[in-house]
């Protein structure tokens, strides 16, 4: 898992540049979502307050695990969880992401936004060494107390529901490797979202539910990895059921 000094340094520089320029691109993205997308997050003030409390009570790093329906879920998540000023005060709560390289790294503008927005690209389905390198980076970041977001389903759900068939166990390995790691399970969904899509439909109102858990397993190795990943997925399924039972 050991990263080279150069790799750690480049993550630090990426973060510093992201933080320093955050008021500009953060404001731009929020304006884009509000004005062009017409997006709203329901009960945003309560969500942010709740997240602040959870963060304060968690005595370890937080791995955010969310369902995945659109390509901009992680942007909406970061927007929902704290204000620009809260992020400026403590950028550690601004979540690192692991976007699929082929989705976001074909043009320079998206590449720049990903760099500023604390992304560590991952070559899903690529060489094991390349995937391992990306996972090593986020493991390192988590161990240093940064917040990281991953999507345990391994991609946008084609069914529109938590897709257990496509799920990956990598998330279990991450939690297992980082001592004291908490998992913030998040269920995010627009009232207009029937299925998966590139971006949410215009005028979307987002529902967000979150639950902080600390999954544990009596086993070790791969069995623990699977146990922990399953606990996270089961929590997300419960939250999805709650959404369809009450919020719709």
């Amino acid at each position: 898992m050991e990263l080279k000094f150069r790799e750690k340094f480049s993550l630090k520089i990426q973060r510093l540049i992201g933080w320093a320029t955050f008021p500009f691109w953060g404001t731009f993205l929020i304006a884009l979502m509000r004005v062009v997308g017409g997006y709203k997050v329901q009960q945003m003030r309560e969500i942010r307050k709740h997240f602040k409390e959870l963060k304060r009570n968690a005595d370890g790093p937080i791995l955010v695990c969310s369902n995945h329906l659109t390509k901009i879920d992680s942007i909406i998540l970061n927007w929902s969880l704290a204000s620009i000023w809260a992020y400026m005060r403590s950028f550690k709560i601004f979540s690192w992401n692991l976007p699929k390289r082929s989705n976001f790294y074909q043009n320079y503008v998206l590449r720049l936004m990903c760099y500023l927005g604390s992304c560590v690209p991952i070559d899903r389905g690529g060489s094991r060494e390349a995937v391992k390198k990306s996972l090593d980076k986020v493991t390192y970041l988590l161990s240093k107390g940064h917040t990281v977001t991953v999507f345990p389903e391994g991609g946008r759900s084609r069914t529109g529901r938590i897709d257990l068939d496509k799920s990956t166990y990598g998330v279990g390995r991450l939690v297992n490797k980082v001592k004291g790691c908490h998992v913030l399970c998040v269920y995010l969904r627009s009232h207009k979202q029937e299925n998966y899509s590139e971006i949410p439909r215009r005028g979307s109102r987002f529902y967000l539910d979150m639950e902080l858990i600390q999954p544990k397993s009596p086993h070790s190795g791969l069995r623990a990895t699977r146990d922990i990943a399953n606990q996270i997925l089961e929590q997300l399924v419960l939250m999805e059921q709650a959404y369809f039972a009450t919020a719709r």
Partner: protein, 81 residues
């Protein structure tokens, strides 16, 4: 246990998870578990755990990461039993 015996058992385990029954009929040591048998990476972990149970061995994360083909699985088991 001989390589052939291990291979037979490995194929039996893979049969429970494979979505591509045609590839299963033409399976060989070179068959890719993910690409040819259409098994996703999470199920690959389940398969390695089945190897542990079946052959009474322990496989760590790094060894599991190296299992890409049927042959990789067979060789891994042979080094552990």
């Amino acid at each position: 246990m001989t390589e052939a015996e291990v291979y037979e058992k490995v194929v039996g385990i893979l049969g429970k998870y494979s979505k591509n029954k045609d590839a299963l009929e033409n399976i060989s040591m070179e068959t890719s578990i993910i690409e040819d048998l259409k098994i996703n990476s999470a199920r690959l972990v389940d398969i390695v755990l089945d190897f542990e149970d079946e052959f009474d061995i322990e496989v760590d994360d790094d060894d599991a990461d190296r299992v890409a083909t049927v042959g990789d699985g067979v060789k891994l088991i042979l080094t552990k039993i």
